[in-house]
């Protein structure tokens, strides 16, 4: 299967969400890419619920799309339900969330990989890296063959030395009974520091055994567009989800059996995410709650398997069944698969450069859950950048590092490589300091030019994006300059929308800034009836919130000044006056800029001042010695 002397520009290990994007990016950039997976049947598997998006995560998906990645298109093509969340909470936190058909999602991604030129998807279990000095040379696979590649992207997900737990049952296994990667897990420690994380899944039930008439139905809402800026329209047929609740009886069963839960018996040492607690953690930590929400979600068009979001558990299977049957509507429920906890190795992301290259190893990149993150969207985004950067390194081009003010993806990677993480890292809007500019609706404006530079976004698509945005800008400025005079007609129009009459002339934009008015209610004044809905919304956001956006832009400008103070050639051992803790942390993280340094835990504002003073002195010394 692997002819001797075969050579690739990039070998991607793992064909999950990170690996798929990495391989696609590399191949679409024209490199020869090998994508290895333990089984071709698990490409782009969603072992948790087949749900994509939500606050911040939806923005990640749009960013991936703007950069020329595949995830958004894959969701749009396979979704069964689409909802817009947070509609009333504001433009910056509006969030698209989709349920995909798990099997269709996998199939479509696999087909995309298979149909991409230069991309070879093959089945093999990687056991070790081939390393020469400080450069990676390829990988070794289970049958002992060596495969050579200029660069390697590790996207091994939760498979490294994976162990699953169900009560006191323990098995060396990846998610859903898939093969774990034990040898690679053991060998990886030779190259980077590793940690052990855990996560969990809930039981699956037969949908026909649940009396959904007793549950609250949650239909999707239809949107014309989907995640991708290229999707014209998505499937209009949608499947509903249902909302169920645990009750005191459920909690009693959980409490009585807590000692049998794998996470409480002490069997598991890994750290789990706090935002995804098992039902046993919920009951133990919030004993006063009388009920927790559980969503019943279909797994696909062609199956009656249902996923129970909110009920992740590592209790013994019989206890899980009792828990299920204690809930209203689930009395006769049939459990198809029990939930389980899974523990796996990941690397300490502090070992990474912001390019996702492993420090000290040329050509070696890591992406996805192996970096200590959680979530498909987080993984896919990293995969795309790791793949692109590996190829750029090979070609001697500048790597792509996104700024915090530019993308959630920038926030994600900066957080990881600057602060590390002690639990699986999930993206949230509250992690970004400038979320008003990192909106769902402007991801293409923020990133399409980078996608184009990478060679992942076509000229044609880029032009379309540029045109759209210049039209929006033109419309904005025309509304700013278009004057409205007070008068009977105008004031009647305003009154109809519950708005105060006009006293003196104002621009249409001024009126649009009134909370109770929107683009369409002002149409008689500006006359722009032909505008597309998307554009109208865009213009509304840009004008209504311009004051806030400008304020954030100023904060960004201030931050950028620190981001531009380079520390790349500073030996922190040379800098006198730093606290010891700061010195250690700086030497470990090796921040690229004063801005990044200031975000390291243990580096105080005083240490930042010391760095600034050091830089100032050094440039003075340099200018002296140049004279």
């Amino acid at each position: 299967m692997f002819p001797k002397n075969e050579h690739y520009n990039m070998i991607v290990v793992g064909a999950g969400h990170a690996g798929s994007e990495a391989a696609l990016a590399g191949a679409r950039m024209g490199a020869r890419v090998l994508l290895l997976t333990t089984t071709l049947d698990a490409v782009a598997l969603m072992p948790c619920n087949p749900s994509v998006g939500g606050p911040a995560k939806a923005n990640l998906v749009r960013e991936i799309d703007a950069l020329g990645g595949e995830m958004a298109k894959n969701v749009d093509a396979t979704l069964m339900q689409l909802r817009m969340l947070n509609t009333r909470k504001g433009p910056a936190v509006r969030a698209l969330r989709a349920q995909s058909d798990r099997k269709l999602y996998q199939q479509r991604m696999k087909l995309t990989l298979e149909s991409t030129d230069n991309l070879y998807v093959k089945e093999a279990l990687v056991t070790d890296l081939l390393v020469q000095g400080s450069s990676v040379r390829g990988v070794k696979v289970a049958d002992g063959s060596e495969i050579f590649g200029d660069t390697v992207v590790l996207a091994t997900g939760t498979y490294l030395r994976a162990v699953i737990y169900i009560g006191d049952y323990r098995d060396s296994s990846g998610p859903q009974g898939l093969k774990p990667a034990n040898a690679l897990g053991e060998n990886l420690g030779k190259y980077v520091a590793t940690a052990r994380f855990k996560t969990g899944t809930p039981p699956r039930v037969h949908l026909r055994s649940v009396d959904v008439s007793q549950l609250d139905i949650q239909p999707g809402n239809f949107f014309k567009g989907g995640f991708s800026f290229e999707t014209a329209s998505v499937e209009s047929r949608q499947l509903p989800c249902w909302l169920a609740y645990t009750n005191e009886e459920t909690h009693r069963i959980v409490a009585e059996n807590l000692d049998k839960a794998a996470i409480f018996t002490g069997a598991i040492s890994g750290t789990g995410p706090r935002y995804c607690p098992s039902i046993e953690s919920k009951v133990a930590q919030f004993p006063d709650r009388r009920g927790h929400q559980v969503f019943l979600e279909p797994e696909g068009w062609n199956t009656y398997e249902g996923y129970l979001s909110g009920l992740s558990s590592s209790l013994p299977a019989p206890v899980q069944l009792r828990i299920l049957q204690s809930m209203k509507g689930f009395e006769d429920c049939e459990m198809l698969r029990p939930g389980y906890a899974i523990e796996y190795d990941c690397i300490d992301p502090l070992a990474l450069h912001p390019t996702l290259q492993v420090k000290g190893f040329q050509g070696l990149y890591c992406a996805g859950q192996v970096n200590g993150t959680s979530g498909y969207e987080e993984a896919a985004g990293q995969g795309l950048l790791a793949g692109a950067n590996a190829i750029r390194e090979l070609r001697g081009q500048e790597p792509v590092v996104l700024r915090r003010s530019q993308a959630y993806l920038g926030v994600l990677i900066d957080d990881l490589v600057t602060k590390g993480t002690n639990e699986p890292y999930r993206m949230m809007t509250s992690r970004a300091e400038h979320r008003l500019v990192l909106r769902l609706d402007n991801a293409d404006r923020r990133l399409a030019h980078i996608g184009r530079e990478l060679g992942l976004v076509s000229e044609q698509r880029y032009d379309r994006c540029a045109k759209k945005w210049s039209a929006i800008e033109r419309l904005c400025s025309s509304l700013e300059s278009q004057q409205v005079r007070p008068g009977r007609e105008t004031n009647e129009l305003l009154q109809r929308s519950g708005s105060a009459p006009l006293q003196r002339p104002a621009s249409v934009a001024d009126l649009l800034r009134r909370p109770e008015l929107d683009f369409w209610s002002l149409a008689p004044l500006h006359g722009q009836y032909e505008v597309e809905q998307q554009t109208a919304e865009q213009v509304e956001v840009e004008i209504k919130y311009s004051g806030y956006i400008e304020k954030q832009q100023r904060a960004i400008d201030r931050m950028e000044r620190m981001e531009n103070r380079s520390l790349e050639d500073v030996d922190f051992a040379d800098v006198r006056g730093l606290s010891r803790e700061a010195q250690e942390k700086l030497q470990q993280v090796r921040p690229r800029s004063v801005g990044q340094a200031s975000r390291i835990a243990g580096v105080s504002p005083a240490d930042v001042n010391v760095l600034l003073v050091y830089l100032a002195q050094r440039s003075k010394r340099r200018s002296y010695s140049e004279q």
């Binding site: 948790c48 619920n49 939500g54 606050p55 911040a56 969340l85 947070n86 009333r88 909470k89 504001g90 433009p91 910056a92 936190v93 969030a95 969330r97 809930p202 995410p273 706090r274 935002y275 995804c276 607690p277 919920k282 930590q285 919030f286 709650r289 927790h292 929400q293 969503f295 979001s309 909110g310 992740s312 949230m428 809007t429 509250s430 992690r431 300091e433 979320r435 008003l436 909370p515 109770e516 919130y545 806030y548 304020k551 954030q552 006056g577 730093l578 606290s579 010891r580 835990a601 105080s604 504002p605 005083a606 240490d607 001042n609 010391v610």
Partner: protein, 458 residues
């Protein structure tokens, strides 16, 4: 590097109870032994580090006990400055404390320069740079009393006040953020009315704190004083007495113009900055040298005017001009030369609420009543004392003002009926500005709390 031994009063003005005289340097214990007699016998030189001894400070000449004190011994290098440090904790009030300091100065210690303890601590590697901010302030602060305020304020009540603002805002932000980031969990939305209440109460408390900033500024930066009066009334005698009493600090800070230099005198722990026109000592008057207009500018700039009059010769037109021109300004009228026969009655002087009167002889009299009067006048309008919350750094005031402004905007956003993510901008901004003072970051704290408070998860 041999360092001489320095001493200063290390507690703040207005603080009741204990005052500390701090002594640092190689000879601290030898000098101490000349003045301190422990009740249980022995000497300070034989006392091991980190011990406190009880005894008396005695005047070596008279042998009389000046005060009952505790003497704390902290040996090099494990002391604040890294040198031998002796601290005398006395409770006899400001005058006794001053006397004890004088005894130390007479027995071989030198008056510490502004921030000199801290400077030494820094040089000897006893302060890491996490304290650097404080150091910068401290080196600039002009007496040890303001030094204490600088050091205390972050641990003390300012910190508590800011923590309370932060706490209330954090709680709000945490709930807002949780509802934004986890819309599909059953997290209740924060009610607008509640948000309204919290924002406006924190806002008004921040405003109160900002109002104290000016008081704090006096403690840190001192108060500006102009000594004025017609020629020959005793202005330079006054300045020289102030400087002679070893309260003077060596710093001669260049003033706002080339004509004016500034001398800093420690008055009861508050830096008194005498704007010296150089005219005082050369017996030429400010008015004479600079002209009335410039003199008025100088007066306006001053926090306090000391107007010296000669009791032995009748008041002249010139005296009255100055009296009129300085009306309504905080001033001390020094009626000097009362050792000579008086040529006019005190009742002649106009007295208003901002004027204090001191009769004295600069030639032979005691300076203390004048100093008391000055301190009273400076302190009179202050709402706060050092043990209460004080904003003494401009940077802190600035941060508070910005926090207040952010909250104002949040409130406006709320009133405009705009969505919660925009209200959050103001709330987060306010939290960040408060964090600039306490050195805490917002983002991680918010996340910590979301997870601790809400049951979130698939």
């Amino acid at each position: 590097m041999h360092q001489d031994t320095i001493a200063a009063v290390a507690t703040a003005v207005g603080e009741a109870g204990i005052a500390i005289v701090r002594v640092s340097g190689g000879d601290a214990y030898q000098i101490g032994d000349r003045l301190f007699s422990p009740v249980k016998g022995g000497t300070l030189q034989d006392t091991p580090g980190y011990r406190i001894r009880y005894g008396h400070i005695r005047d070596p000449e008279s042998g009389k006990a000046v005060d009952e004190v505790l003497a704390a011994v902290m040996r090099a290098p494990r002391s604040f400055t890294g040198e031998n440090v002796l601290e005398i904790h006395c409770h006899g009030g400001p005058k006794v404390t001053q006397r004890i300091l004088e005894l130390f100065l007479q027995s071989g210690a030198r008056m510490a320069e502004a921030g000199e303890f801290t400077k030494r601590a820094f040089i000897n590697g006893r302060l890491d740079l996490s304290q650097a901010e404080a150091v910068i302030d401290v080196v600039r602060s002009r007496t040890d009393s303001s030094l204490d305020v600088a050091v205390q304020q972050l641990e003390g009540s300012l910190r508590r006040r800011i923590d309370s603002f932060r706490e209330r805002l954090l709680d709000l932000v945490v709930r807002v953020e949780a509802s934004i980031d986890f819309p599909e969990e059953d997290i209740p939305d924060v009610e607008l009315g509640e948000m309204q209440t919290i924002i406006s109460s924190v806002r008004s408390e921040i405003q109160q704190l900002i109002d104290t900033a000016d008081d704090g500024k006096i403690l840190r930066e001192g108060f500006k004083t102009v000594i004025t009066g017609k020629p020959n009334v005793g202005k330079s005698s006054l300045l020289n007495r102030l400087l002679d009493e070893k309260r003077a600090l060596v710093t001669e800070v260049p003033g706002t113009t080339r004509d004016v230099i500034e001398e800093v005198v420690n008055v009861r722990g508050i830096p008194m900055r005498v704007l010296d026109t150089a005219g005082i000592r050369s017996t030429t008057d400010v008015v004479e040298r600079l002209g009335v207009e410039r003199a008025r500018d100088l007066w306006r700039e001053a926090d306090i005017i000391i107007h010296v009059l000669d009791a032995s010769i009748p008041l002249t037109e010139e005296d009255w001009d100055i009296l009129d021109a300085t009306e309504n300004h905080k001033r001390v009228i020094v009626v000097n030369k009362i050792d000579l026969p008086r040529s006019w009655p005190l009742e002649d002087l106009p007295l208003d609420s901002s004027t204090k009167l001191v009769e004295m002889s600069l030639l032979e009299g005691n300076l203390e009543p004048l100093l008391d009067t000055i301190v009273q006048l400076v302190h009179g309008g202050m709402r706060l004392r050092t043990e209460e919350a004080l904003v003494t750094r401009t940077r802190h005031k600035q941060a508070l003002a910005e926090a207040e402004d952010d909250l104002r905007q949040a409130q406006q956003t709320l009133d405009d009926g705009l969505p919660v993510d925009l209200i959050a901008v103001g709330l987060q901004g306010a939290l960040e500005h408060l964090g600039e003072i306490t050195g805490e970051t917002v983002r991680d704290t918010v996340l910590e709390r979301i997870f601790a408070q809400f049951c979130i998860g698939k």
